[in-house]
Amino acid sequence: MPLLDRSGLKAETFARAENLSDAAGDVIVPWANVQAVLEAGAGNHRLGVDIPNNISIDEILPLVDRLDLISVPFPSFSDGRGFSLAKQLRDRGYRGVLRAQGKLITDQFAYALACGFDEVEPADEVFARQPVEQWLAALTRITNVYQRGYDGAANILDQRRAARAAKAAQVESKEASHV
């Protein structure tokens, strides 16, 4: 399956496998197996996990320091749980790679990045219709957003605040120069 981030297509270095012994390099294992894999020790493997999207963040948090990648599924583009999971993982301190995998569409790319995803692994069927150029173009549509505390596009509230501060400083310096 293709893999892309905010600068375009990127090489896949992870392979999905039931267990570490099934693959050579970086491995994404199912959520059900991750505990056992961690107990056995990941060795030289970079370790990722496929989580279900109905999981509670509290189940994942104890493991996040030992995970290099968390892949969050989008079973359909209309199922937005993955956005909240990503936001929670980032807010609660996960610093590894965060991947959105599944039936996302290009119009959701900016949302995914804003919620903390680094990369998207779109379904082949979707990618066949929506090539990488469309994914990148989708990021240029909306320059500024209204929400604070999300990544990506500059937020309008902070820009308004900065403009107010600049204006106030200007007035102050004008007053100072008059004195």
Binding site: S78, D107, N144
Partner: protein, 564 residues
């Protein structure tokens, strides 16, 4: 009223271009029909029975004259010369062509309007008390809060693919005219009982549809500057835990109902405790910036009661009767808030022609500081008119065919578009409203009956809010025939109540008789000056039920006679 700054302007223009591109990608096959559908819905474009329908946001129901004139232009150029005001204070056009929609959006952006999130599984157009800034019982104007939420919820990265639609309403008054208890989230602005600080009571999980429920208080007091972070916590809990297995159980009311309000509150508070509030909330200067746009207009100093108005009333009974129905007391002496009925007998409730839009826009410009409101009752308000101008306004409205003296009365009926337009509808609504209005059109009789809200929905989704109608009518389909269920005792105010069903459904042509029987019970039972809903509360549903079923028993008797 609010004016766009450079950021708002650019945002809306970019959204138009984005939608134009989405349409192009649908046409070239990049987007499947399934993928395009929610994208167009989030821009207010529905595919209806006969054509596309475009729903335009009128945030918290506030409009300027130039905006209403632009809607008139769109109605003439791209539709059939009329529009329809909805129960969410929005405007719908029923006949636009999909290929014209991007151009219509451009025309809307020219007057600081849009269709963003008027449909789809996202946070919808935020509604507010239509007498905001007018009513004497108001603690604080709810519109700055509604505007803040409008901006915050627009293209929200996390909450644009919710389990289901999400509706927020705000009131700042004691008397609830915004139906906050039947919204996904209702916000009531209040003063902290001890500190006097301004904040919100947060009500979650109200709603109509096939499972009508009254919202529950999840936060007694939320400090005003914590609003956005708290909403983020509440929306996150819903986004993660709201049901996605069944469309009909996906609203937040079902989640609150299934896990209980205590558990829901606990989950929201737990999430809220983990958030970094200051990194999410709008700073007070931003809230002040928005609030400044809603500063009161420069009123003239007038005597409390206009002598000219009193004299005109005294000499013209028709004018006085119209004014009695249409005028709402303004907090400023000598002023009035005027409701213009869009319920002319025989017309479709909420419909307004382009000529009428222009006439109303002219009146707003001339007499009401250029400002208009759309009500969830599907009427239009001139919020700040001088009492002494009412007579001139009445004359102008008569010329425009908009002087029906029925605001709040039995013929001021709320009705969804129903099977005449809507793809979801199971029965017609508009002809039922028209038939009832005709039956009760006698002016004297309407006034004698007094305040009585009839609400009609053409399907279980309840866009006509029938559950909270004093008399509610739900149109269903039974064996290929339209069938109407009647409920009694609903109320959308601070005394929110869901109506009780009176019995089995009836045929369309039996509805006016049934309503008449209910009204007769009320007239026989009421105490002096007691409004319909109060009589229902006092005497209970039973006598009304008997009267409603009386028709059925006579039918049964006939049937028995026939057998005998």
């Amino acid at each position: 009223m609010y004016r766009y700054d450079e950021f708002d302007e650019r945002f809306v223009r970019e959204r138009v271009a984005q939608f134009r591109d989405q349409v192009a990608r649908r046409l070239d096959g990049s987007l499947s029909d399934d993928e395009f559908k929610p994208l167009r819905l989030k821009n207010g474009v529905y595919l209806q029975l006969h054509a596309y329908m475009l729903r335009i946001a009128v945030p918290y129901g506030t409009l300027a004259s130039r905006q209403l004139r632009q809607l008139a232009l769109i109605a003439d150029r791209y539709d059939r010369g009329y529009g329809h005001f909805t129960t969410r204070q929005n405007m719908q056009f029923n006949w636009p062509k999909l290929r014209d929609v991007p151009d219509i959006l451009g025309l809307l952006a020219d007057v600081e309007m849009h269709c963003i999130q008027t449909s789809g599984n996202c946070i919808r157009n935020v509604t507010a008390d239509h007498f905001a800034g007018v009513a004497a019982d108001e603690l604080e104007d709810p519109r700055p809060t509604a505007e803040l939420i409008r901006q915050w919820s627009s293209l929200h990265p996390e909450f644009s693919y919710l389990p289901r639609k999400f509706k927020i309403a705000v009131t700042g008054a004691e008397h609830d005219r915004a139906a906050v208890k039947v919204h996904d989230i209702g916000l009531r602005i209040l003063k902290h009982p001890q500190t006097g600080e301004i904040g919100y009571e947060v009500i979650v999980g109200g709603g109509l549809g096939r499972t009508p429920l009254i919202g529950k208080v999840v936060r007694d007091f939320l400090p005003k500057d914590e609003l956005l972070a708290y909403l983020e916590a509440a929306m996150r809990v819903y986004n993660l835990e709201g049901r996605r297995d069944n469309k009909y159980k996906a609203r937040v009311k079902i989640l609150v109902h299934e896990i209980g309000v205590e558990e829901f509150r606990k989950r929201v508070e737990e999430e809220y405790a983990k958030l970094n509030g200051p990194s999410i909330n709008a700073d007070p200067a931003e809230v002040e910036r928005i609030a400044a746009y809603f500063a009161p207009p420069t009123y003239e100093k007038l005597p409390g009661d206009s002598k000219a108005y009193a004299a005109q009333r005294a000499t013209n009974a028709a004018f006085a009767q119209w004014a009695d129905a249409s005028v709402f007391k303004h907090r400023i002496p000598g002023y009035a808030a005027l409701t213009i009925s869009l319920k002319t007998i025989g017309e479709a409730p909420g419909d307004i022609t382009s000529a009428q839009m222009r006439a109303v826009a002219d009146l707003a410009e001339k007499y009401s500081f250029d400002e208009l409101r759309v009500t969830h009752m599907q009427n239009v308000v001139l919020p700040h008119v001088k009492q002494s101008d009412l007579f001139a306004i009445w004359n102008a409205l008569r010329e425009a065919g908009l002087a029906e003296a029925n605001v709040g009365l039995v013929t001021d009926i709320i009705a969804c578009p129903g099977l005449d337009y809507c793809a979801l509808a199971t029965a017609r609504s508009i002809p039922i409203a028209q038939a009832i209005a005709k039956r009760f059109q006698d002016q004297q009789r309407q006034r004698d009956i007094g305040p009585l809200g009839i609400k009609i929905s053409g399907c279980i989704n309840a866009c006509g809010h029938h559950h909270v109608g004093n008399i509610g009518i739900l149109g269903l389909e039974k064996n290929g025939v339209e069938n109407y269920q009647i409920t009694l005792g609903g109320d959308a105010t601070e005394n929110a109540a869901i109506g009780d069903r009176l019995g089995p459904g009836i045929d369309a042509d039996e509805v006016p008789d049934a309503i008449e029987r209910l009204v007769d019970v009320y007239l026989n039972q009421r105490l002096k000056d007691e409004p319909f809903i109060d009589t229902v509360r006092r005497v209970g549903v039973a006598p009304f039920k008997d009267a409603f079923l009386a028709k059925d028993s006579s039918k049964t008797e006939e049937a028995e006679h026939a057998v005998a």
